[in-house]
Symmetry: C2
Subunit: 332 residues, 2 copies
Protein backbone atom coordinates (compact mmCIF):
# COMPACT_ATOMS: atom_id res chain seq x y z
CA UNK A 1 0.00 0.00 0.00
CA UNK A 2 1.74 3.17 -1.22
CA UNK A 3 0.24 6.12 0.56
CA UNK A 4 1.50 9.32 2.15
CA UNK A 5 -0.13 8.81 5.54
CA UNK A 6 0.81 8.28 9.17
CA UNK A 7 -1.47 6.00 11.20
CA UNK A 8 -3.85 4.33 8.77
CA UNK A 9 -6.60 4.35 11.41
CA UNK A 10 -6.26 8.09 11.86
CA UNK A 11 -6.36 9.50 8.33
CA UNK A 12 -9.69 11.32 8.69
CA UNK A 13 -8.68 13.14 11.86
CA UNK A 14 -5.34 14.19 10.41
CA UNK A 15 -6.91 15.23 7.13
CA UNK A 16 -9.44 17.43 8.94
CA UNK A 17 -6.65 19.06 10.93
CA UNK A 18 -4.78 19.66 7.68
CA UNK A 19 -7.86 21.21 6.08
CA UNK A 20 -8.50 23.59 8.95
CA UNK A 21 -4.82 24.55 8.96
CA UNK A 22 -4.98 25.22 5.21
CA UNK A 23 -8.27 27.10 5.07
CA UNK A 24 -8.92 28.99 8.31
CA UNK A 25 -10.43 31.81 6.25
CA UNK A 26 -13.18 29.40 5.12
CA UNK A 27 -13.78 26.68 7.69
CA UNK A 28 -13.66 25.85 11.36
CA UNK A 29 -14.00 22.54 13.15
CA UNK A 30 -16.95 21.75 15.39
CA UNK A 31 -14.87 20.83 18.39
CA UNK A 32 -14.88 17.16 19.21
CA UNK A 33 -16.58 16.19 15.95
CA UNK A 34 -15.56 15.36 12.40
CA UNK A 35 -17.51 18.32 11.15
CA UNK A 36 -16.31 21.37 9.22
CA UNK A 37 -18.54 24.41 9.08
CA UNK A 38 -18.21 27.88 7.63
CA UNK A 39 -15.97 30.09 9.66
CA UNK A 40 -18.85 32.52 10.26
CA UNK A 41 -21.45 29.85 11.12
CA UNK A 42 -24.26 30.09 11.86
CA UNK A 43 -25.27 32.61 9.21
CA UNK A 44 -28.37 34.27 10.66
CA UNK A 45 -31.62 33.88 8.71
CA UNK A 46 -30.02 32.02 5.82
CA UNK A 47 -31.03 28.46 5.03
CA UNK A 48 -28.00 26.29 5.79
CA UNK A 49 -26.85 23.32 3.72
CA UNK A 50 -25.22 20.28 5.27
CA UNK A 51 -23.78 17.38 3.33
CA UNK A 52 -21.26 14.68 3.99
CA UNK A 53 -20.70 10.99 3.85
CA UNK A 54 -17.74 8.71 4.02
CA UNK A 55 -14.31 10.30 3.61
CA UNK A 56 -12.09 9.50 0.64
CA UNK A 57 -14.08 11.59 -1.84
CA UNK A 58 -12.18 14.84 -1.29
CA UNK A 59 -12.69 17.65 -2.06
CA UNK A 60 -16.21 16.36 -1.32
CA UNK A 61 -17.55 17.50 0.94
CA UNK A 62 -15.44 19.65 3.24
CA UNK A 63 -13.82 21.42 0.30
CA UNK A 64 -17.18 22.86 -0.68
CA UNK A 65 -17.91 24.57 2.61
CA UNK A 66 -18.12 28.28 2.05
CA UNK A 67 -20.15 31.08 0.54
CA UNK A 68 -22.60 29.92 -2.12
CA UNK A 69 -22.30 26.21 -1.39
CA UNK A 70 -22.32 24.25 1.88
CA UNK A 71 -22.52 25.49 5.45
CA UNK A 72 -21.35 22.24 6.96
CA UNK A 73 -19.76 18.95 5.94
CA UNK A 74 -19.65 15.78 7.98
CA UNK A 75 -16.74 13.41 7.43
CA UNK A 76 -17.32 9.73 8.16
CA UNK A 77 -14.53 7.21 8.25
CA UNK A 78 -13.24 6.34 4.77
CA UNK A 79 -16.15 5.12 2.65
CA UNK A 80 -18.31 4.85 5.80
CA UNK A 81 -21.41 6.85 6.66
CA UNK A 82 -21.01 9.41 9.41
CA UNK A 83 -22.90 8.60 12.58
CA UNK A 84 -26.15 10.43 13.43
CA UNK A 85 -24.57 12.34 16.31
CA UNK A 86 -21.97 13.82 13.96
CA UNK A 87 -24.63 14.95 11.51
CA UNK A 88 -26.71 16.31 14.38
CA UNK A 89 -23.80 18.43 15.58
CA UNK A 90 -23.36 19.81 12.08
CA UNK A 91 -27.03 20.78 11.88
CA UNK A 92 -26.91 22.53 15.25
CA UNK A 93 -23.72 24.38 14.36
CA UNK A 94 -25.02 25.85 11.10
CA UNK A 95 -28.69 26.57 11.80
CA UNK A 96 -29.20 30.31 11.75
CA UNK A 97 -32.94 30.11 12.32
CA UNK A 98 -34.03 29.58 8.72
CA UNK A 99 -33.61 25.84 8.78
CA UNK A 100 -31.23 23.30 7.32
CA UNK A 101 -31.28 21.30 4.10
CA UNK A 102 -29.44 17.98 4.21
CA UNK A 103 -27.92 16.88 0.90
CA UNK A 104 -27.68 13.10 1.12
CA UNK A 105 -26.19 10.74 -1.43
CA UNK A 106 -28.36 7.70 -1.90
CA UNK A 107 -26.56 5.11 0.20
CA UNK A 108 -28.54 3.13 2.73
CA UNK A 109 -26.26 4.04 5.63
CA UNK A 110 -26.13 7.74 4.79
CA UNK A 111 -29.89 7.98 4.51
CA UNK A 112 -30.50 6.19 7.79
CA UNK A 113 -27.98 8.27 9.72
CA UNK A 114 -28.84 11.64 8.20
CA UNK A 115 -32.55 11.01 8.77
CA UNK A 116 -31.95 10.02 12.37
CA UNK A 117 -29.98 13.23 12.86
CA UNK A 118 -32.79 15.20 11.23
CA UNK A 119 -35.24 13.76 13.73
CA UNK A 120 -32.97 14.66 16.62
CA UNK A 121 -32.68 18.22 15.31
CA UNK A 122 -36.41 18.51 14.64
CA UNK A 123 -37.04 17.48 18.24
CA UNK A 124 -35.03 20.55 19.23
CA UNK A 125 -37.18 22.74 17.04
CA UNK A 126 -34.79 23.09 14.10
CA UNK A 127 -36.46 23.06 10.69
CA UNK A 128 -34.86 20.32 8.62
CA UNK A 129 -35.53 19.11 5.10
CA UNK A 130 -33.54 16.73 3.00
CA UNK A 131 -32.82 15.88 -0.61
CA UNK A 132 -31.52 12.50 -1.76
CA UNK A 133 -29.16 12.50 -4.73
CA UNK A 134 -29.32 9.50 -7.07
CA UNK A 135 -27.66 10.68 -10.26
CA UNK A 136 -25.82 7.49 -11.23
CA UNK A 137 -27.54 5.87 -14.19
CA UNK A 138 -25.27 2.81 -14.22
CA UNK A 139 -27.23 0.40 -12.08
CA UNK A 140 -30.47 0.08 -10.13
CA UNK A 141 -29.58 -1.06 -6.61
CA UNK A 142 -25.99 -1.88 -5.67
CA UNK A 143 -23.80 -3.04 -2.83
CA UNK A 144 -24.70 -0.15 -0.54
CA UNK A 145 -27.81 1.22 -2.18
CA UNK A 146 -31.46 0.62 -2.85
CA UNK A 147 -32.18 2.45 -6.07
CA UNK A 148 -29.61 4.50 -7.87
CA UNK A 149 -26.45 5.76 -6.23
CA UNK A 150 -25.46 9.35 -5.62
CA UNK A 151 -22.14 10.28 -7.19
CA UNK A 152 -20.48 13.39 -8.66
CA UNK A 153 -23.74 15.13 -9.56
CA UNK A 154 -24.05 15.80 -5.84
CA UNK A 155 -21.59 18.66 -6.21
CA UNK A 156 -24.02 20.40 -8.57
CA UNK A 157 -26.71 20.18 -5.88
CA UNK A 158 -24.29 21.87 -3.50
CA UNK A 159 -23.64 24.61 -6.03
CA UNK A 160 -27.19 25.36 -7.12
CA UNK A 161 -29.06 24.81 -3.86
CA UNK A 162 -26.22 26.68 -2.14
CA UNK A 163 -26.77 29.62 -4.47
CA UNK A 164 -30.49 29.50 -3.78
CA UNK A 165 -29.86 29.64 -0.05
CA UNK A 166 -27.39 32.48 -0.50
CA UNK A 167 -30.04 34.43 -2.41
CA UNK A 168 -32.22 34.28 0.67
CA UNK A 169 -34.78 31.73 -0.49
CA UNK A 170 -36.66 29.98 2.29
CA UNK A 171 -36.15 26.33 3.19
CA UNK A 172 -39.01 24.95 1.11
CA UNK A 173 -37.77 26.85 -1.92
CA UNK A 174 -34.18 25.75 -1.47
CA UNK A 175 -35.44 22.18 -1.23
CA UNK A 176 -37.48 22.71 -4.39
CA UNK A 177 -34.36 23.86 -6.23
CA UNK A 178 -32.34 20.93 -4.90
CA UNK A 179 -35.04 18.48 -5.96
CA UNK A 180 -35.14 20.04 -9.41
CA UNK A 181 -31.38 19.64 -9.79
CA UNK A 182 -31.64 16.01 -8.66
CA UNK A 183 -34.39 15.47 -11.20
CA UNK A 184 -32.30 17.07 -13.96
CA UNK A 185 -28.84 15.59 -13.37
CA UNK A 186 -27.44 12.24 -14.48
CA UNK A 187 -23.95 10.79 -14.14
CA UNK A 188 -21.96 7.68 -14.92
CA UNK A 189 -18.37 6.66 -14.32
CA UNK A 190 -15.67 4.17 -15.17
CA UNK A 191 -12.32 3.24 -13.73
CA UNK A 192 -9.00 1.78 -14.74
CA UNK A 193 -7.79 0.90 -11.25
CA UNK A 194 -9.23 0.11 -7.84
CA UNK A 195 -8.31 2.12 -4.77
CA UNK A 196 -7.08 1.11 -1.35
CA UNK A 197 -8.96 2.05 1.80
CA UNK A 198 -6.12 2.78 4.26
CA UNK A 199 -7.54 0.67 7.09
CA UNK A 200 -8.12 -2.29 4.75
CA UNK A 201 -4.69 -2.06 3.17
CA UNK A 202 -5.66 -3.87 -0.01
CA UNK A 203 -7.43 -2.96 -3.26
CA UNK A 204 -11.20 -2.76 -3.21
CA UNK A 205 -11.54 -4.92 -6.32
CA UNK A 206 -9.47 -6.72 -8.92
CA UNK A 207 -9.10 -5.55 -12.47
CA UNK A 208 -6.91 -6.83 -15.30
CA UNK A 209 -4.00 -4.90 -16.85
CA UNK A 210 -6.03 -4.27 -20.02
CA UNK A 211 -9.46 -3.97 -18.43
CA UNK A 212 -11.70 -1.16 -17.26
CA UNK A 213 -14.75 -1.30 -14.99
CA UNK A 214 -17.79 0.48 -16.38
CA UNK A 215 -20.45 2.06 -14.20
CA UNK A 216 -18.81 1.46 -10.87
CA UNK A 217 -19.68 3.49 -7.78
CA UNK A 218 -17.44 5.88 -5.92
CA UNK A 219 -16.51 3.22 -3.37
CA UNK A 220 -15.48 0.76 -6.04
CA UNK A 221 -18.81 -1.06 -5.91
CA UNK A 222 -19.30 -3.15 -9.04
CA UNK A 223 -20.72 -1.45 -12.08
CA UNK A 224 -22.38 -2.96 -15.10
CA UNK A 225 -19.41 -4.93 -16.38
CA UNK A 226 -15.70 -5.15 -17.01
CA UNK A 227 -14.40 -4.86 -20.55
CA UNK A 228 -11.12 -4.24 -22.32
CA UNK A 229 -9.93 -0.63 -22.16
CA UNK A 230 -11.47 1.50 -24.88
CA UNK A 231 -10.28 4.79 -26.30
CA UNK A 232 -11.19 8.01 -24.52
CA UNK A 233 -13.73 8.80 -27.23
CA UNK A 234 -15.37 5.39 -26.97
CA UNK A 235 -15.50 5.70 -23.19
CA UNK A 236 -17.04 9.17 -23.39
CA UNK A 237 -19.57 7.99 -25.98
CA UNK A 238 -20.53 4.97 -23.92
CA UNK A 239 -21.08 6.90 -20.69
CA UNK A 240 -22.81 9.80 -22.40
CA UNK A 241 -25.18 7.56 -24.34
CA UNK A 242 -26.36 5.88 -21.17
CA UNK A 243 -26.77 9.27 -19.48
CA UNK A 244 -28.73 10.85 -22.32
CA UNK A 245 -30.93 7.78 -22.71
CA UNK A 246 -32.14 8.49 -19.21
CA UNK A 247 -32.78 12.21 -19.65
CA UNK A 248 -35.15 14.31 -21.63
CA UNK A 249 -32.81 16.75 -23.31
CA UNK A 250 -33.80 17.95 -26.72
CA UNK A 251 -32.08 19.85 -29.47
CA UNK A 252 -31.32 23.49 -28.58
CA UNK A 253 -31.76 22.84 -24.88
CA UNK A 254 -28.90 23.77 -22.55
CA UNK A 255 -26.91 21.65 -20.15
CA UNK A 256 -24.00 21.90 -17.76
CA UNK A 257 -21.30 19.25 -18.06
CA UNK A 258 -19.00 17.98 -15.34
CA UNK A 259 -16.09 15.72 -16.27
CA UNK A 260 -14.94 14.48 -12.90
CA UNK A 261 -11.71 12.69 -12.06
CA UNK A 262 -11.75 9.90 -9.50
CA UNK A 263 -8.48 10.98 -7.91
CA UNK A 264 -5.71 9.28 -9.85
CA UNK A 265 -6.44 10.43 -13.39
CA UNK A 266 -4.47 13.32 -14.88
CA UNK A 267 -6.32 16.44 -15.90
CA UNK A 268 -4.98 15.85 -19.43
CA UNK A 269 -7.15 12.76 -19.75
CA UNK A 270 -10.22 14.51 -18.35
CA UNK A 271 -9.86 17.21 -20.98
CA UNK A 272 -9.55 14.60 -23.71
CA UNK A 273 -12.82 13.07 -22.46
CA UNK A 274 -14.39 16.53 -22.35
CA UNK A 275 -13.47 17.11 -25.98
CA UNK A 276 -15.54 14.14 -27.06
CA UNK A 277 -18.42 14.98 -24.71
CA UNK A 278 -18.70 18.41 -26.31
CA UNK A 279 -18.41 16.93 -29.79
CA UNK A 280 -21.18 14.42 -29.20
CA UNK A 281 -23.50 16.90 -27.51
CA UNK A 282 -22.86 19.32 -30.35
CA UNK A 283 -23.81 16.69 -32.92
CA UNK A 284 -27.14 16.31 -31.14
CA UNK A 285 -27.70 20.06 -31.03
CA UNK A 286 -27.49 20.15 -27.24
CA UNK A 287 -25.86 23.35 -26.03
CA UNK A 288 -23.27 23.32 -23.26
CA UNK A 289 -23.79 26.37 -21.08
CA UNK A 290 -20.99 25.63 -18.62
CA UNK A 291 -18.34 22.95 -18.16
CA UNK A 292 -16.49 21.81 -15.07
CA UNK A 293 -13.42 19.61 -15.46
CA UNK A 294 -11.46 18.38 -12.45
CA UNK A 295 -11.50 16.27 -9.31
CA UNK A 296 -14.77 17.02 -7.54
CA UNK A 297 -15.94 13.65 -6.19
CA UNK A 298 -13.06 11.22 -5.94
CA UNK A 299 -12.45 7.68 -4.74
CA UNK A 300 -9.07 8.07 -3.07
CA UNK A 301 -6.39 7.33 -5.71
CA UNK A 302 -8.67 5.53 -8.17
CA UNK A 303 -7.86 6.20 -11.83
CA UNK A 304 -11.05 6.86 -13.72
CA UNK A 305 -13.62 9.46 -14.58
CA UNK A 306 -17.30 10.19 -14.48
CA UNK A 307 -19.44 12.38 -16.67
CA UNK A 308 -22.40 14.34 -15.33
CA UNK A 309 -24.97 16.21 -17.40
CA UNK A 310 -27.39 18.69 -15.84
CA UNK A 311 -30.32 19.95 -17.86
CA UNK A 312 -30.74 23.67 -17.31
CA UNK A 313 -33.52 26.20 -17.34
CA UNK A 314 -33.30 29.93 -16.65
CA UNK A 315 -33.56 29.50 -12.90
CA UNK A 316 -30.84 26.85 -12.77
CA UNK A 317 -28.55 28.86 -15.06
CA UNK A 318 -28.76 31.85 -12.76
CA UNK A 319 -27.96 29.70 -9.74
CA UNK A 320 -25.12 27.95 -11.54
CA UNK A 321 -23.61 31.36 -12.26
CA UNK A 322 -23.91 32.54 -8.66
CA UNK A 323 -20.78 33.56 -6.80
CA UNK A 324 -19.13 30.79 -4.83
CA UNK A 325 -16.14 31.00 -2.52
CA UNK A 326 -15.03 27.72 -1.01
CA UNK A 327 -11.63 26.01 -0.77
CA UNK A 328 -12.29 23.73 -3.76
CA UNK A 329 -14.72 25.69 -5.90
CA UNK A 330 -14.73 29.39 -6.51
CA UNK A 331 -16.64 31.45 -8.98
CA UNK A 332 -16.32 35.18 -9.32
Amino acid sequence: MKKIINDRENVVEEMLQGMVAAHPEYVKRVEGYDVLVRKNSPVQDKVALVSGGGSGHEPSHGGFVGKGMLDGAVAGEVFTSPTPDQVYEAIKAVDGGAGVLLVIKNYTGDIMNFEMAAEMAAAEGILVENVVVNDDVAVENSTYTTGRRGIAGTVLIHKLAGAAAEKGLELKEVKRVADKVVKNVRSMGMSLTPCIVPAAGKPSFEIGEDEMEVGLGIHGEPGTHKESIKSADEIADQLLEKILDDMEVKEDEEVAVMVNGLGGTPLMELYIVNREVHKKLGEQGIKVYKTLVGNFMTSLEMAGASISVLKLDDELKELLDGEADTPAFKQL
Copy 2:
Protein backbone atom coordinates in the same frame (compact mmCIF):
# COMPACT_ATOMS: atom_id res chain seq x y z
CA MET B 1 -0.38 1.44 -20.01
CA LYS B 2 -3.75 2.34 -18.47
CA LYS B 3 -4.79 5.73 -19.75
CA ILE B 4 -7.99 7.36 -20.95
CA ILE B 5 -6.66 8.58 -24.28
CA ASN B 6 -7.16 8.06 -28.00
CA ASP B 7 -4.06 8.28 -30.19
CA ARG B 8 -1.05 8.40 -27.90
CA GLU B 9 0.78 10.66 -30.35
CA ASN B 10 -2.06 13.17 -30.29
CA VAL B 11 -2.76 13.75 -26.60
CA VAL B 12 -1.63 17.38 -26.51
CA GLU B 13 -3.78 18.43 -29.46
CA GLU B 14 -6.86 16.67 -28.06
CA MET B 15 -6.25 18.06 -24.58
CA LEU B 16 -6.03 21.60 -25.93
CA GLN B 17 -9.28 21.12 -27.83
CA GLY B 18 -10.88 19.82 -24.64
CA MET B 19 -9.60 22.81 -22.68
CA VAL B 20 -10.94 25.34 -25.14
CA ALA B 21 -14.27 23.49 -25.23
CA ALA B 22 -14.40 23.57 -21.42
CA HIS B 23 -13.32 27.15 -20.85
CA PRO B 24 -14.32 29.40 -23.76
CA GLU B 25 -15.06 32.15 -21.25
CA TYR B 26 -11.35 32.17 -20.31
CA VAL B 27 -9.19 31.01 -23.19
CA LYS B 28 -8.90 30.85 -26.94
CA ARG B 29 -6.48 28.97 -29.14
CA VAL B 30 -3.92 30.73 -31.31
CA GLU B 31 -4.96 29.06 -34.51
CA GLY B 32 -2.47 26.57 -35.82
CA TYR B 33 -0.39 26.60 -32.64
CA ASP B 34 -0.38 24.81 -29.29
CA VAL B 35 -0.93 28.09 -27.53
CA LEU B 36 -3.79 29.17 -25.29
CA VAL B 37 -4.26 32.87 -24.61
CA ARG B 38 -6.80 34.90 -22.71
CA LYS B 39 -10.05 35.23 -24.55
CA ASN B 40 -9.67 39.01 -24.64
CA SER B 41 -6.01 39.03 -25.71
CA PRO B 42 -4.20 41.23 -26.25
CA VAL B 43 -5.04 43.36 -23.23
CA GLN B 44 -4.02 46.86 -24.26
CA ASP B 45 -1.29 48.54 -22.22
CA LYS B 46 -1.01 45.72 -19.69
CA VAL B 47 2.23 43.77 -19.37
CA ALA B 48 1.47 40.25 -20.57
CA LEU B 49 2.79 37.05 -19.00
CA VAL B 50 3.63 33.98 -21.05
CA SER B 51 4.68 30.67 -19.59
CA GLY B 52 4.68 27.09 -20.77
CA GLY B 53 6.83 24.07 -21.17
CA GLY B 54 6.23 20.41 -21.80
CA SER B 55 2.69 19.14 -21.39
CA GLY B 56 1.79 16.63 -18.68
CA HIS B 57 1.94 19.16 -15.83
CA GLU B 58 -1.70 20.24 -16.02
CA PRO B 59 -3.23 22.49 -14.84
CA SER B 60 0.16 24.09 -15.57
CA HIS B 61 0.23 26.13 -17.57
CA GLY B 62 -2.93 26.52 -19.66
CA GLY B 63 -5.16 26.27 -16.61
CA PHE B 64 -3.65 29.47 -15.24
CA VAL B 65 -4.46 31.64 -18.23
CA GLY B 66 -6.84 34.36 -17.15
CA LYS B 67 -7.20 37.52 -15.16
CA GLY B 68 -4.50 38.02 -12.55
CA MET B 69 -2.19 35.28 -13.80
CA LEU B 70 -1.01 34.35 -17.30
CA ASP B 71 -1.92 35.86 -20.63
CA GLY B 72 -0.62 32.95 -22.65
CA ALA B 73 0.55 29.37 -22.18
CA VAL B 74 2.54 27.32 -24.65
CA ALA B 75 2.11 23.56 -24.59
CA GLY B 76 5.01 21.44 -25.80
CA GLU B 77 4.71 17.73 -26.37
CA VAL B 78 4.58 15.75 -23.14
CA PHE B 79 7.64 16.59 -21.03
CA THR B 80 9.21 18.31 -24.07
CA SER B 81 10.04 21.98 -24.47
CA PRO B 82 7.83 23.92 -26.86
CA THR B 83 9.57 25.07 -30.00
CA PRO B 84 10.62 28.73 -30.41
CA ASP B 85 8.00 29.39 -33.10
CA GLN B 86 5.23 28.34 -30.70
CA VAL B 87 6.52 30.65 -27.97
CA TYR B 88 6.94 33.44 -30.51
CA GLU B 89 3.30 33.12 -31.58
CA ALA B 90 2.22 33.31 -27.95
CA ILE B 91 4.23 36.49 -27.41
CA LYS B 92 2.74 38.12 -30.51
CA ALA B 93 -0.78 37.12 -29.55
CA VAL B 94 -0.67 38.63 -26.06
CA ASP B 95 1.45 41.74 -26.43
CA GLY B 96 -0.76 44.75 -25.86
CA GLY B 97 2.04 47.25 -26.24
CA ALA B 98 3.40 47.15 -22.69
CA GLY B 99 5.68 44.19 -23.29
CA VAL B 100 5.78 40.55 -22.32
CA LEU B 101 7.37 38.71 -19.42
CA LEU B 102 8.32 35.09 -20.08
CA VAL B 103 8.17 32.82 -17.04
CA ILE B 104 10.57 29.98 -17.80
CA LYS B 105 11.25 26.93 -15.68
CA ASN B 106 14.96 26.20 -15.53
CA TYR B 107 15.31 23.40 -18.06
CA THR B 108 17.96 23.70 -20.72
CA GLY B 109 15.52 23.17 -23.59
CA ASP B 110 12.95 25.61 -22.25
CA ILE B 111 15.51 28.33 -21.73
CA MET B 112 17.00 27.92 -25.18
CA ASN B 113 13.64 27.94 -26.94
CA PHE B 114 12.02 30.72 -24.93
CA GLU B 115 15.11 32.91 -25.38
CA MET B 116 15.15 32.29 -29.10
CA ALA B 117 11.49 33.29 -29.25
CA ALA B 118 12.27 36.40 -27.22
CA GLU B 119 14.89 37.40 -29.76
CA MET B 120 12.47 36.88 -32.62
CA ALA B 121 9.87 39.03 -30.85
CA ALA B 122 12.42 41.71 -29.95
CA ALA B 123 13.38 41.90 -33.61
CA GLU B 124 9.75 42.85 -34.28
CA GLY B 125 9.92 45.58 -31.69
CA ILE B 126 8.12 43.79 -28.87
CA LEU B 127 9.55 44.44 -25.41
CA VAL B 128 10.39 41.09 -23.83
CA GLU B 129 11.89 40.22 -20.47
CA ASN B 130 12.21 36.87 -18.83
CA VAL B 131 12.48 35.26 -15.43
CA VAL B 132 13.92 31.81 -14.82
CA VAL B 133 12.38 29.77 -12.01
CA ASN B 134 14.69 27.44 -10.10
CA ASP B 135 12.84 26.69 -6.88
CA ASP B 136 13.76 23.02 -6.47
CA VAL B 137 16.29 22.63 -3.66
CA ALA B 138 16.74 18.89 -4.19
CA VAL B 139 19.71 18.81 -6.52
CA GLU B 140 22.15 21.08 -8.31
CA ASN B 141 22.11 20.14 -12.00
CA SER B 142 20.04 17.21 -13.25
CA THR B 143 19.08 15.27 -16.33
CA TYR B 144 17.61 18.26 -18.15
CA THR B 145 19.02 21.16 -16.18
CA THR B 146 22.10 23.15 -15.39
CA GLY B 147 21.57 24.50 -11.91
CA ARG B 148 18.36 23.96 -9.99
CA ARG B 149 15.13 22.91 -11.62
CA GLY B 150 11.91 24.87 -11.76
CA ILE B 151 8.95 23.03 -10.27
CA ALA B 152 5.70 23.90 -8.46
CA GLY B 153 6.90 27.25 -7.16
CA THR B 154 6.48 28.46 -10.74
CA VAL B 155 2.74 28.76 -10.10
CA LEU B 156 3.46 31.35 -7.42
CA ILE B 157 5.40 33.41 -9.96
CA HIS B 158 2.35 33.28 -12.22
CA LYS B 159 0.15 34.42 -9.36
CA LEU B 160 2.26 37.26 -7.99
CA ALA B 161 3.79 38.59 -11.17
CA GLY B 162 0.35 38.22 -12.78
CA ALA B 163 -1.14 40.35 -10.04
CA ALA B 164 1.61 42.94 -10.53
CA ALA B 165 0.83 43.12 -14.26
CA GLU B 166 -2.89 43.39 -13.54
CA LYS B 167 -2.19 46.33 -11.24
CA GLY B 168 -0.67 48.14 -14.20
CA LEU B 169 3.00 47.94 -13.25
CA GLU B 170 5.39 48.37 -16.15
CA LEU B 171 7.49 45.54 -17.57
CA LYS B 172 10.62 46.24 -15.53
CA GLU B 173 8.57 46.32 -12.33
CA VAL B 174 6.71 43.13 -13.14
CA LYS B 175 10.06 41.48 -13.80
CA ARG B 176 11.36 42.83 -10.49
CA VAL B 177 8.41 41.25 -8.67
CA ALA B 178 8.89 37.96 -10.51
CA ASP B 179 12.58 37.92 -9.66
CA LYS B 180 11.76 38.61 -6.03
CA VAL B 181 9.36 35.70 -5.91
CA VAL B 182 11.97 33.45 -7.51
CA LYS B 183 14.48 34.60 -4.93
CA ASN B 184 12.03 33.94 -2.08
CA VAL B 185 10.50 30.58 -3.07
CA ARG B 186 11.86 27.09 -2.49
CA SER B 187 10.32 23.69 -3.24
CA MET B 188 11.05 20.01 -2.98
CA GLY B 189 9.13 16.88 -3.92
CA MET B 190 8.96 13.12 -3.59
CA SER B 191 7.07 10.36 -5.31
CA LEU B 192 5.73 6.89 -4.70
CA THR B 193 5.26 5.92 -8.33
CA PRO B 194 6.67 6.79 -11.73
CA CYS B 195 4.45 8.02 -14.55
CA ILE B 196 4.07 6.93 -18.13
CA VAL B 197 4.60 9.34 -21.02
CA PRO B 198 1.91 8.24 -23.51
CA ALA B 199 4.23 8.10 -26.52
CA ALA B 200 6.81 6.08 -24.58
CA GLY B 201 4.28 3.65 -23.17
CA LYS B 202 6.39 2.61 -20.23
CA PRO B 203 7.21 4.02 -16.79
CA SER B 204 9.80 6.76 -16.62
CA PHE B 205 11.71 5.02 -13.82
CA GLU B 206 11.61 1.96 -11.60
CA ILE B 207 10.72 2.06 -7.95
CA GLY B 208 10.17 -0.76 -5.45
CA GLU B 209 6.82 -1.59 -3.82
CA ASP B 210 8.02 -0.18 -0.48
CA GLU B 211 10.21 2.61 -1.81
CA MET B 212 9.85 6.30 -2.47
CA GLU B 213 12.02 8.61 -4.57
CA VAL B 214 13.08 11.78 -2.77
CA GLY B 215 13.78 15.04 -4.55
CA LEU B 216 12.82 13.95 -8.04
CA GLY B 217 11.88 16.44 -10.74
CA ILE B 218 8.50 16.84 -12.40
CA HIS B 219 9.52 14.66 -15.33
CA GLY B 220 10.63 11.83 -13.08
CA GLU B 221 14.28 12.84 -13.29
CA PRO B 222 16.23 11.27 -10.45
CA GLY B 223 16.26 13.02 -7.13
CA THR B 224 18.68 12.68 -4.27
CA HIS B 225 17.96 9.04 -3.45
CA LYS B 226 15.46 6.24 -3.04
CA GLU B 227 14.53 5.08 0.43
CA SER B 228 11.82 3.03 2.08
CA ILE B 229 8.48 4.80 2.36
CA LYS B 230 8.27 7.00 5.40
CA SER B 231 5.23 8.33 7.22
CA ALA B 232 3.57 11.50 5.95
CA ASP B 233 5.01 13.43 8.88
CA GLU B 234 8.52 12.17 8.25
CA ILE B 235 8.19 13.00 4.55
CA ALA B 236 6.94 16.50 5.32
CA ASP B 237 9.73 17.05 7.85
CA GLN B 238 12.39 15.83 5.45
CA LEU B 239 11.28 18.05 2.56
CA LEU B 240 10.63 21.06 4.75
CA GLU B 241 13.99 20.83 6.48
CA LYS B 242 15.83 20.87 3.17
CA ILE B 243 13.69 23.81 1.99
CA LEU B 244 14.17 25.90 5.13
CA ASP B 245 17.91 25.17 5.21
CA ASP B 246 18.10 26.98 1.91
CA MET B 247 16.03 30.02 2.91
CA GLU B 248 16.41 32.88 5.29
CA VAL B 249 13.13 32.79 7.16
CA LYS B 250 13.22 33.86 10.75
CA GLU B 251 10.81 33.64 13.64
CA ASP B 252 7.71 35.83 13.20
CA GLU B 253 8.27 36.18 9.47
CA GLU B 254 5.45 35.19 7.17
CA VAL B 255 5.33 32.63 4.38
CA ALA B 256 2.90 31.15 1.89
CA VAL B 257 2.80 27.35 1.68
CA MET B 258 1.86 25.24 -1.32
CA VAL B 259 1.36 21.51 -0.88
CA ASN B 260 1.20 20.29 -4.44
CA GLY B 261 0.04 16.90 -5.68
CA LEU B 262 1.84 15.31 -8.61
CA GLY B 263 -1.36 14.03 -10.21
CA GLY B 264 -2.08 10.63 -8.68
CA THR B 265 -2.16 11.48 -4.99
CA PRO B 266 -5.48 11.98 -3.21
CA LEU B 267 -6.22 15.34 -1.67
CA MET B 268 -6.60 13.51 1.66
CA GLU B 269 -2.89 12.76 1.67
CA LEU B 270 -1.95 16.30 0.68
CA TYR B 271 -3.93 17.63 3.65
CA ILE B 272 -2.19 15.17 5.97
CA VAL B 273 1.14 16.51 4.70
CA ASN B 274 -0.10 20.07 5.16
CA ARG B 275 -0.97 19.35 8.79
CA GLU B 276 2.65 18.52 9.55
CA VAL B 277 4.02 21.42 7.50
CA HIS B 278 1.95 23.84 9.57
CA LYS B 279 2.95 22.11 12.79
CA LYS B 280 6.65 22.30 12.02
CA LEU B 281 6.53 25.90 10.81
CA GLY B 282 4.56 26.79 13.92
CA GLU B 283 7.20 25.23 16.15
CA GLN B 284 9.78 27.50 14.54
CA GLY B 285 7.60 30.55 14.97
CA ILE B 286 7.18 31.01 11.22
CA LYS B 287 3.72 32.32 10.37
CA VAL B 288 1.71 30.90 7.49
CA TYR B 289 -0.13 33.73 5.79
CA LYS B 290 -1.79 31.63 3.08
CA THR B 291 -1.89 27.94 2.12
CA LEU B 292 -2.61 26.27 -1.21
CA VAL B 293 -3.30 22.54 -1.28
CA GLY B 294 -4.05 20.72 -4.53
CA ASN B 295 -2.74 19.69 -7.92
CA PHE B 296 -0.99 22.72 -9.40
CA MET B 297 2.09 21.31 -11.13
CA THR B 298 1.69 17.63 -11.88
CA SER B 299 3.60 14.84 -13.59
CA LEU B 300 0.80 13.02 -15.37
CA GLU B 301 -0.48 10.29 -13.00
CA MET B 302 2.53 10.25 -10.69
CA ALA B 303 1.69 9.66 -7.02
CA GLY B 304 3.65 12.07 -4.88
CA ALA B 305 3.78 15.57 -3.53
CA SER B 306 5.93 18.63 -3.34
CA ILE B 307 6.10 21.36 -0.76
CA SER B 308 6.82 25.00 -1.64
CA VAL B 309 7.50 27.80 0.80
CA LEU B 310 7.47 31.45 -0.27
CA LYS B 311 8.85 34.09 2.06
CA LEU B 312 6.54 37.10 2.05
CA ASP B 313 6.82 40.81 2.59
CA ASP B 314 4.07 43.42 2.41
CA GLU B 315 4.34 43.81 -1.34
CA LEU B 316 4.18 40.07 -1.98
CA LYS B 317 1.26 39.62 0.42
CA GLU B 318 -0.78 42.20 -1.42
CA LEU B 319 -0.02 40.54 -4.76
CA LEU B 320 -0.78 37.09 -3.37
CA ASP B 321 -4.17 38.38 -2.27
CA GLY B 322 -4.97 39.91 -5.65
CA GLU B 323 -8.04 38.75 -7.53
CA ALA B 324 -7.46 35.89 -9.94
CA ASP B 325 -9.88 34.30 -12.36
CA THR B 326 -8.51 31.40 -14.37
CA PRO B 327 -9.82 27.89 -15.03
CA ALA B 328 -7.61 26.31 -12.35
CA PHE B 329 -7.08 29.08 -9.84
CA LYS B 330 -9.58 31.64 -8.72
CA GLN B 331 -9.48 34.10 -5.89
CA LEU B 332 -12.26 36.50 -5.05
